[in-house]
């Protein structure tokens, strides 16, 4: 192989290696897996939000054709394990025990009470209908504010719904002044803005329903799961079911999206594990979409009470944030940690001198909540970017001007924020200038004024979001101080095969992100080998034995850095061997573009030639091991802080409330870009998820605690016809916290876009006296807001009937 003429891979828009199998259907989704003798599971789920189980009669189901057995919680002992919370955010957090299959009481509609095992999935599901469960219904805690007041208790034995109260105060932390004092002062001689915003409940709604296969044959028990976190699943299985880690292999094959929704240890996985072990036969469970929406964890669901104080000229003096966060029925794996991840981001890109954050996490009888794309940071960004617009209105200036007055200037980096985080790099001026130009900001503002002056029934609104986020989860030491149950490092292994190919093993576990392509580009550059010669292996705890998986925009920033370091070690290991084979001093050996050469001569060897020589091991220097394989575990020293300026133009038909997105521009600074094509894809998809929160999506419960948005008929995922083409670009100030200069991009679009859209909608109708519209901003709500000057009302009703009652319609 000649590797001397490899052009730079980093920055190239390489087409993805992953795509060949995905576009031809040569895929290995968990549900595709079929094993000899495999049995199928169907779950029996509670229809009630809160009830005591008085009896379960499984006899009819057991007698159904090809049913092997029916099991309930009481059929299992400790081997069933528990679903864990890895992040108790306070030492006294109230955490209900979470059995995968409780035998006494159910705490949300959709909770599993029995499992049917049959020879086919259809027979299992048929028999599940025959399981007769008697319930004694209990009052259910459903409304977040009422639950926070302990009006009805979600878990009566706990005596309260209040799980944890977590506070950060800049005066106490010594990172700033007192927000209360700043607010008190502003009440006399400044501006105080008080708002309450609702983060509605959302559902991650990955396209591949969750599926799990457990194979108990052989020495290691194998679990295939549609998960983002095979390593964490293995850890939790061992920790809670008594099987040593060395006997557990977890494989995440092709995984069809996650968005945080597959960052979980689920009752379904634990039940399949227990049943497979009990029967000694492979078992499979694949959820239906309804089960997915009902029982997979949900996201967001907060009330945000905000108080912002400022001088009369708009200089912010303090910010106070009080959150109520709905945990649902159980504290999920990250659970109450989600709002804490947002705690350090409410001050965003601004130089606030004083800041106070408090969150009360609350148990209810609804589906559990946990990470959903952005996890805490979209909520924070929404709050601050919405209220900065309100401040601009109060001061009477353009919302960009109020932001510029308060943001960190580019020459002030590195900058330590009021939360004590050090932002390494950024340039808000540059991103904003570029976005304004692409957007045609001044022309659109002029058009807006003209439409307003002429009383056009279709009004134009312009929404701004100048966001930042913290990515690269996470420095282990920081996680330790926050009482998180694990570290935040990532692991990589780089090895050369005898014929000179490179295998890269990463502990990150991709499910659509394109790691196979991006990591190949990084290693191709580092080792000077062709892109095609690099194979990235992941998603199997036996192939990639160490790792902390994929979430929190961490794979490239943390996992990529581990790959870089492992690759560098390969070069260092190869150097003495090259010197030996070239009969030169190691001090005279240079490595560049895949070739070890003797300085000042034309003598040299390609890295693949070294690999072959190491494999043969016929002629190695004394005492040198015959391997180039290298490991690296990288623990980040800081987070990374991508930022960007997003501008959105919305047209609002004031007669009908109908909304049309006219234009969306974003300029993101995500540091060094490895593959612009993949980055664009992440941004587009992220934008639409954030826009969907603003305009369409909401998980709605009726007053008995039934999820009425329990199918794709009722949970409104946007389609191609609902969305537009986006204008995206970048500015680049490389991160200084990793050697590639990357910052992370997986969540940026989602974090930034929601407030940009709602700001635009509110901006379009503000002259009707509207200063907030509750999300999702449906046409009905917008129409009501215009007429009443309110927020357009909450979503309280049950879903509309799908079919008109007899005799009513055509």
């Amino acid at each position: 192989m000649t590797a001397t003429e490899v052009e730079n891979e980093i920055g190239r828009d390489r087409r993805r290696k992953e795509d060949q199998r995905l576009i031809t259907g040569r895929t290995r989704w968990t549900d595709n897996i079929v094993l000899p003798g495999m049995l199928h599971l169907a779950m029996v789920r509670s229809p009630f939000a809160h009830a005591n189980i008085t009896s379960i009669d499984t006899s009819a189901a057991k007698a159904a054709p090809n049913v092997v057995t029916v099991l309930t919680g009481s059929d299992f002992g400790e081997e069933l394990g528990v679903c864990i919370n890895a992040w108790p955010i306070t030492p006294d957090q109230v955490t209900p025990g979470h059995s995968p299959m409780p035998s006494d009481r159910v705490a949300f509609a959709g909770e599993i009470v029995a499992v049917v095992v049959a020879r086919s999935a259809a027979e299992a599901r048929d028999a599940a209908e025959l399981v007769d469960v008697e319930y004694d219904e209990l009052p259910a805690a459903l409304d977040l504010k009422k639950a926070a007041a302990d009006e009805t208790i979600a878990h009566p034995d706990l005596g309260t719904n209040k799980s944890a109260y977590w506070v950060f105060d800049s005066a106490e932390a010594g990172t700033g002044g007192s927000a209360d004092e700043a607010i008190a002062k502003a009440r006399t001689d400044g501006i105080v803005i008080e708002r309450e915003y609702r983060q509605q409940r959302l559902i991650p709604a990955f396209m591949e329903p969750r599926s799990v296969v457990v194979d108990p044959t052989g020495e290691q028990y194998v679990m295939y799961s549609a998960t983002q976190i095979p390593h964490i699943v293995r850890f939790a299985l061992a920790a809670t079911t008594g099987v040593p880690e060395s006997k557990i292999r977890v494989i995440a094959p092709d995984v069809g999206g996650g968005f945080g929704g597959k960052l979980q240890v689920t009752p379904e996985e634990w039940i399949a594990w227990a049943v497979g072990r009990r029967l000694g036969k492979p078992v499979k469970y694949t959820e239906t979409r309804s089960e997915s929406l009902l029982s997979g964890h949900h996201g967001r669901d907060q009330w945000q009470k905000l108080t912002l104080s400022a001088e009369k000229d708009g200089t912010v003096t303090g910010f106070k944030v009080e959150l109520l966060a709905d945990l649902g029925a159980y504290v999920a794996i990250v659970g109450g940690g989600v709002p804490v991840l947002g705690a350090f981001m409410f001050n965003a890109i601004y130089k606030f001198p004083a800041y106070h954050f408090a969150v009360q996490t609350v148990l209810t009888n609804k589906t559990w909540t946990d990470a959903y794309r952005g996890a805490g940071r979209p909520e924070a960004t929404y709050a601050i970017e919405r209220i900065m617009d309100e401040l601009a209105v109060e001061v009477g200036v353009d919302p960009l001007e109020i932001r510029e007055k308060n943001w960190i200037k580019h020459e002030e980096f590195p900058f330590t924020t009021v939360c004590g985080l050090e932002y390494d790099t950024g340039n808000y001026e540059a991103a904003t200038a570029k976005a304004k130009e692409m957007f045609g900001y001044d022309a659109l503002r002029a058009e807006q004024q003209q439409r307003r002056d002429s009383g056009d029934p279709v009004q134009l609104g312009i929404g701004i979001s100048t966001f930042t986020e913290m990515c690269g989860l996470a420095p282990s030491r920081v996680l330790g101080t926050l009482d998180y149950g694990a570290g935040g490092w990532e692991h990589a292994n780089v090895r050369m095969t005898p014929l000179g190919k490179v295998e890269v093993v990463t502990g990150a576990s991709a499910h659509g992100q394109g790691h196979e392509t991006a990591f190949s580009q990084i290693v191709a550059d580092r080792l000077g080998v062709p892109f095609e010669d690099v194979e990235v292996l992941h998603g199997d705890t036996q192939v990639a034995p160490r790792g902390l998986d994929t979430y929190g925009s961490r794979s490239l920033v943390v996992g990529g850095e581990a790959v870089v370091r492992a690759a560098d070690k390969v070069i260092e290991k190869a150097k003495p061997i090259a010197a030996h084979l070239l009969e030169a001093s190691i001090d005279d050996i240079d490595f560049a573009a895949g070739r070890f050469s003797v300085r000042g001569t034309d003598q040299g060897l390609g890295i693949a030639e070294i690999a072959t020589a190491v494999f043969a091991a016929h002629n190695l220097p004394d005492g040198v091991e015959p391997t180039l394989d290298s490991d690296a575990a990288y623990d980040p020293v800081n987070f990374s802080f991508p930022h960007g300026t997003h501008l959105c133009a919305m047209e609002v038909d004031t007669e009908t409330g109908a909304l049309t997105m006219r234009k969306y521009v974003c300029v993101d600074d995500i540091g060094t870009i490895i593959n612009p094509l993949i980055v664009a894809g992440q941004v587009h998809g992220g934008l639409v998820q954030g826009i969907a929160q603003a305009l369409w999506e909401e998980a709605v419960y009726d007053d008995s605690g039934t999820l009425v948005s329990g199918s794709f008929v009722d949970y409104l995922l946007p389609t191609a016809a609902d969305t537009i083409t986006f204008d995206i670009d970048h500015t680049t100030s490389p991160s200084t916290t990793n050697s590639l200069g990357t910052k992370g991009v997986g969540e940026a679009g989602t974090i930034a876009s929601t407030p940009a859209v709602v700001n635009a909608v509110v901006d379009a109708v503000r002259h009707f006296g509207v200063n907030d519209i509750q999300m999702p901003c449906t046409p009905e709500r917008v129409w009501r807001a215009i007429r009443t000057g309110g927020k357009g009302g909450a979503t309280t009703e049950a879903a509309m009937p799908h079919f008109e009652a007899e005799g009513e319609g055509a």
Partner: protein, 161 residues
């Protein structure tokens, strides 16, 4: 049980099936055509889209017995002699997929769209794909992929008629 005989990706197959068996279950569970996937229970997501007698159908919304005597093409039957169908190629070229779960259905629907309308406008593409959900791409690059395939004259190559 009912005996059905049909052609799937060019091969004749014949099986006894339960009348309630869905075409998608038949493809996946009986024929091992796991390239076609199931994403919902309500025929909203379109992940299971295949061609039946030259027209796209959501195979979760067709009974296997209804396909008796018919000709079915799945995503696995598009590439000919190792050569990708131009729409498959366009999806890769334009990064029209991320996790890839919606992709088989998206590709089959795009081919059907281009068969009916070889030069669709952006709006026509967006409306033509309205029955197929994607959670990763925001549709931006899927639309680009269909435009790319259209401009490279791909509407008929490899598609069923």
């Amino acid at each position: 049980m009912t005996r059905i005989t049909l052609t799937v990706d060019g091969a004749q197959v014949s099986d006894d099936v339960e009348p309630r068996l869905l075409l998608v279950q038949y493809l996946r569970e009986r024929l091992g055509k796991t390239g076609t996937v199931i994403g919902c229970d309500t025929s909203n997501c379109g992940a299971c889209t295949v061609h039946l007698n030259g027209t796209s159908v959501k195979s979760c919304n067709v009974l296997a017995v209804q396909a008796d005597g018919g000709e079915v093409t799945t995503v696995e039957g598009l590439a000919q002699d190792g050569r990708l169908h131009p729409v498959q190629e366009a999806f890769r070229e334009c990064h029209g997929l991320q996790c890839g779960f919606c992709t088989p259905g998206m590709i089959m629907q795009s081919i059907d769209l281009l068969n009916t309308n070889p030069s669709p406008s952006e709006d026509e593409i967006r409306e033509g794909l309205e029955g197929n959900l994607c959670r990763c791409t925001g549709y931006h690059n899927i639309v680009r992929a269909v435009q790319h395939a259209a401009s490279h004259g791909s509407s008929t190559a490899g598609a069923t008629s």
